[in-house]
């Protein structure tokens, strides 16, 4: 359709080709080249060293920690993130604007600063420390600190994805369900939730990708203690520092592939959800 409208310009002009070339070169130098070089770098000595690196005990342990923390953070974000988004859209209460502004804070704060904040809050110099110590709770330089840091860093993703979705909900349907006598719970699961699905998928995707990729905050608050507070990214960093390059590259490649896969799967889920919706509409038009 667009092409027909633009019919008066059939042939591409030189300027057009130059612009296309410029964009291809830009993305090539910036993104495609580095990605290819990571793949080539990891497989520099063939397949075996890569397999050995990603199955080594050190990497497996760090990946296990990342995975456990990721699952915990994702579940909490799913519940509380959706709740907070809901509250920000549907409820009115004093201080809501301020609260709304604070949601974006983690987006703007550097990961290192996040980790440092948590150290100040829970570390040895903190006012809370004697209490935590007596209870035997270790937060700084321990997995709970890493968990809190990841939670902080991922905070806005779910909420910012959900707020526009909730704003665009068709309230007529809710009123209709309410007048037909549906309880709040039924209204949520039968009417609201199906409309939220694609927003939830996208918010979760961003959260998962971030939980796997966070490094600065996790390094500072966890201290990168080998085998104890070493997440996958910290493991990669240590391998780089110790010049075990094949191990670093292989682990980085695995992490990169995993993150890209997550995004691809969510895109696919989202488009299949949308397709289902449109075919459903076709089957019963009104």
């Amino acid at each position: 359709m667009n092409k027909k409208q633009m019919g008066f310009r059939k042939k591409k002009s030189l300027a057009e080709w130059l612009l296309i070339l410029l964009v291809v070169a830009f993305l090539g130098v910036l993104i495609i080249g580095p990605i290819i070089s990571l793949i080539l770098g990891a497989f520099d000595n063939g397949l075996m060293p890569v397999l050995r690196s990603i199955t080594s005990a050190g990497f497996r342990r760090s990946l296990g920690l990342t995975l456990r923390i990721s699952i915990l953070v994702v579940v909490i974000q799913l519940l509380l993130g959706t709740m907070i988004a809901w509250m920000l859209v549907r409820h009115n209460f004093p201080g809501k604007t301020i609260l709304n502004g604070f949601v974006d804070v983690p987006f703007a704060v550097s990961g290192v600063v996040v980790g440092y904040m948590l150290l100040l809050l829970f570390g040895r110099t903190s006012m809370l420390f004697p209490f935590l110590d007596r209870m035997g709770w270790r937060i700084a330089f321990a997995p709970p600190g890493i968990f809190l840091a990841t939670l902080f860093v991922c905070f806005p993703f779910m909420i910012r994805e959900m707020v526009p979705v909730i704003e665009n909900l068709d309230r007529q349907q809710e009123y209709a369900a309410a007048t037909l006598g549906a309880s709040g719970w039924t209204r949520f699961w039968r009417v609201i939730f199906p409309q939220l699905r694609s927003g939830i998928i996208y918010g979760l995707t961003l959260t998962i990708a971030r939980t796997f990729g966070e490094f600065g905050a996790v390094l500072v608050v966890g201290g990168g203690i080998q085998g104890r507070t070493e997440t996958a990214t910290v493991y990669i960093f240590r391998s780089m520092e110790e010049r075990r390059f094949i191990e670093a590259y292989s682990a980085a490649l695995l992490l990169g592939i995993f993150s890209v896969l997550i995004v691809l799967i969510s895109d696919w889920l989202k488009s299949s959800l949308e397709n289902k919706k449109s075919t459903a509409r076709l089957k019963n038009p009104k």
Binding site: V112, G213, I236, A248
Partner: protein, 278 residues
């Protein structure tokens, strides 16, 4: 009437508070308290110490380096993001869909991995890195160009993806009218297309700036941690935490937070304004 009834029901519903209370608590515990703590710590010995700490040569160099690399990145991203979005929306060429998908990759790829990628391709041990170094004396890795490059990589989707939808929604009849009146394509772009894109470009650029100011992972890999040379503010905070210099770490952290906040605030205000215009 129905609406009013439901609203009233919602207000009286004690369930609303069951929803509200944990949300507010969560926000306070997870977000607000840590921010308050860092301000309290950085300013605990007064403003003089605070200014002294951020004026130390290494700290000042780190802050200035962060600011100029982020600014340069923002300019590159604004220009290249604009061109990229324009090419994607208006032109057709083989491989466009693939390239378009590639723009999203920086969102998914952990920035630590980004740093490693750039080091492999442009690093001093690699052919391309050596070639650039010997032929042109141009260092990318362990130097400021590497910082800028890493930042452009990480924030690329912000600008492109803010401009793209605006450009797609743009009414093309004005452009066609200008074309029939004999305006050159460049003139059409400047006078008709560009004005509509100024605000989204600015918004996306500011978002990327506020993200770039705090970047640590990619930079620590690409630029290393060399004080007075390639140490950015976030890396400086890291090294001060390691050195247990709390005052210095807190002071520069506060500076970082203030910069990101103000930029993000401006970006949000712009976003609201251009949302209202449409």
């Amino acid at each position: 009437m129905n609406l009013a009834l439901l609203r009233r029901k919602e207000r009286r519903n004690p369930g609303a508070w069951i929803l509200r209370l944990p949300s507010i608590l969560f926000l306070i515990l997870v977000v607000i308290i840590p921010v308050v703590v860092i301000f309290q710590d950085g300013l605990r010995e007064g403003f003089d110490t605070f200014f002294y700490q951020i004026n130390l040569p290494i700290a000042r160099h780190a802050i200035i380096l962060t600011l100029w690399t982020s600014t340069l990145m923002t300019i590159i991203n604004a220009v290249m993001g604009l061109i990229t979005a324009y090419v994607f929306v208006r032109f057709d060429f083989p491989g466009k869909r693939l390239l378009n998908a590639i723009v999203d990759l920086p969102m998914a790829i952990p920035s630590l991995v980004t740093g490693i990628m750039l080091v492999i391709l442009y690093g001093p041990q690699q052919t391309l890195g050596v070639f650039l170094m010997e032929r042109f004396g141009f260092r990318i890795v362990f130097a400021s160009p590497g910082i800028v490059m890493a930042l452009v990589f990480i924030t690329l989707p912000f600008v492109v993806r803010t401009i793209q939808p605006v450009l797609e929604d743009l009414d093309q009849s004005q452009e066609r009218a200008a074309a029939t009146l004999g305006a050159s394509p460049w003139r059409i772009f400047r006078k008709v297309v560009l004005p509509a894109l100024v605000l989204p470009t600015l918004g996306g650029s500011l978002m990327s700036f506020s993200r770039a100011v705090g970047e640590f992972s990619a930079i620590v890999i690409v630029a290393g941690n060399i004080p007075l040379r390639t140490q950015t503010a976030a890396v400086y905070v890291f090294s001060q935490v390691e050195a247990e210099n709390r005052l210095g770490a807190s002071a520069v952290s506060i500076v970082l937070i203030l910069i990101s906040f103000s930029v993000l605030f401006i970006a949000n205000t712009l976003h609201k304004r251009w949302g209202a215009h449409r």
